[in-house]
């Protein structure tokens, strides 16, 4: 292990400790037990919900779809899932209701449009890929 790795590691540990110290000593501004719950909840939701759902859908797709289109459909679903995560806050309708310039768009319509576009793009890529493989094989 070279020196720079020890240096970087020590710097990292110092930064982590500085952050934790700031959270714990932050008083009412940080209210540390609340972020602690959020930190743990984020990991639990990811490891016990997001990963199993992703694994299960990958497994199902592997059984249902022919091999050439499998990675394309997986990719399309990945893009759709990420779009969904990014869209959830604006779709929620939260935020200041008295401020018409905050979340001013028709988000359910826009979200649906994006999903249709992702589905179409996935279809096009899948068709192109199948044709190319047929021609080659």
């Amino acid at each position: 292990m070279r020196t720079w790795r020890y240096g970087l590691g020590a710097l990292g540990v110092a930064a982590v400790l500085f952050g934790l110290r700031g959270l714990v000593l932050g008083g009412v501004a940080t209210h540390w037990p609340v972020p602690a719950v959020w930190l743990v909840a984020g990991v639990l939701v990811h490891d016990l919900l997001v990963v199993p759902v992703a694994a299960a859908s990958g497994w199902v797709l592997g059984r249902v779809l022919p091999a050439p289109v499998r990675p394309v459909v997986r990719g399309g679903l990945l893009v759709a899932a990420v779009v969904t995560v990014v869209a959830l806050p604006v779709l929620s309708g939260r935020g200041d209701a008295g401020n018409p310039s905050l979340t001013p768009l028709d988000y359910p319509r826009n979200y649906a449009l994006v999903l249709v576009a992702v589905a179409l793009a996935t279809l096009v890529v899948a068709v192109v890929r199948v044709r190319r493989i047929r021609r080659a094989g």
Binding site: G12, A15, L17, F18, A55, V72, V85, V86, N99
Partner: protein
């Protein structure tokens, strides 16, 4: 020291090794360092970018004594740095999900703890994952001003950023040989071209491009028509400009004929609205650049702050404090440092885009200065003090 830290711990009974803990429970070729190192490289760059731009925003809002005055130029400085902060944070959604997916079997490694050192390393990974998810999720909620928690978002987002970046630095230091080796190897084995790794990396890239295109128009005007999922549209709001805090939200009533702008200094004075309008008016094209990642240019007209400070007998380069008519609120006051206070573009604006300021934009008078976070562009000003 070395011996007890790395001494093998007794493994748990083999009978517990079930389900995802079984050997070979995860067979996908995506779970390989060639994939994780490549996504990790981009995620690391993204987090570093968010950290640096986040520090810029933090220090502009909480200036430490060692920093000195921040320059008032370039005009677009904060607009770019905060726009990059939020856009990069949004791009972290696919990068983080893909990175965690690629390494997810590690959660079920066997034995769970090989040695004390291994246990500590896993603990640091827990800190990394928790902090990274927290930063991305809390940031995403903040851009729609959704606060389902009882802490002050900027402070917690700031401290957890140190946990995230620190544990990433430690992780890179620990894994440096693995990362270097994986980046030298080709993504796919030459024999097997159908392992799906390339497709996975392409899909992650497509996801980054998609969410960026769908949101970045809130600050990058040419892409505004494509910003279908952005929480702001740069031309939607009173007088064609978005608003962060409305007059009603701030508890502001329309200013009456008894309104006075009080200017405090060596030679204090106060002005009625008519007197303010009678002073030399100047124009400036300046953006509102919000911490929440949207920004929009606007045309402002009003009195130069430095003209008022000069008239109050302020020494050259003096700082000023502006105070809102708001009774309470975190951002009712802001300090305008020397470089900003003496900048010819810094106005106490009375007009926006050719009409008198709307109540939500801070009527009768608001501060507008170059290279400054939106929350410090104080609205509904009642008082200016020379410091």
């Amino acid at each position: 020291m070395r011996f007890p830290l790395t001494r093998p711990l007794p493994p748990p009974p083999e009978a517990l090794r079930r389900g995802p803990l079984r050997e070979g429970a995860f067979s996908s070729p995506l779970h390989d360092p060639v994939v994780t190192a490549r996504i990790g490289r981009w995620l690391g760059i993204a987090f570093a970018t968010c950290f640096v731009t986040g520090l810029i925003s933090h220090y502009l809002q909480n200036p430490p004594s060692w920093l000195g005055s921040v320059p008032s130029r370039p005009i677009w400085g904060y607009r770019v740095s905060q726009g990059v902060h939020v856009a990069t944070g949004i791009a972290c959604v696919p990068l983080l999900l893909a990175k965690l997916w690629a390494v997810s079997p590690r959660l079920w490694s066997w034995p769970p703890v090989r040695s004390v050192l291994h246990g500590l390393e896993r603990l640091s990974i827990l800190a990394l994952v928790a902090a990274a998810i927290f930063e991305v999720v809390s940031g995403l909620l903040n851009v729609v001003q959704w606060y389902p928690w009882s802490f002050f978002f900027p402070r917690v987002h700031y401290y957890v950023a140190y946990v995230a970046v620190g544990s990433i630095a430690l992780h890179v230091a620990v894994k440096a040989p693995v990362i270097a080796e994986a980046l030298r190897r080709p993504v796919s084995d030459p024999e097997s071209t159908s392992d799906g790794r390339r497709g996975f990396l392409l899909a992650v890239g497509a996801a980054v491009a998609t969410v960026t295109v769908l949101t970045v128009g809130q600050t990058l005007r040419p892409l505004a028509p494509l910003a279908l999922l952005a929480p702001r549209k740069p031309d939607v709001g009173p007088q064609g400009l978005p608003v962060n805090r409305t007059a009603a939200g701030a508890g502001i009533r329309p200013a009456g004929p008894d309104y006075r702008l009080v200017v405090d200094g060596p030679r204090p004075f106060s002005l009625t609205l008519a007197e303010l309008r009678a002073l030399p008016q100047h124009e400036a094209q300046l953006p509102i650049s919000c911490v929440e990642g949207w920004s929009a240019n606007a045309h402002w007209r009003g009195v130069r702050l430095r003209d008022l400070l000069d008239r109050a007998g302020a020494p050259a380069g003096a700082s000023a404090r502006v105070t809102s008519l708001e009774q309470a609120g975190l951002y009712r006051q802001s300090v305008v440092d020397g470089p900003h206070a003496s900048d010819e573009l810094t106005l106490l604006a009375l007009e926006l885009n050719g009409a008198a300021l709307a109540p939500d934009h801070g009527s009768p008078v608001r501060l507008i200065a170059p290279n400054r976070p939106g929350v410090l562009q104080t609205k509904w000003i009642g008082r200016v003090e020379v410091l």
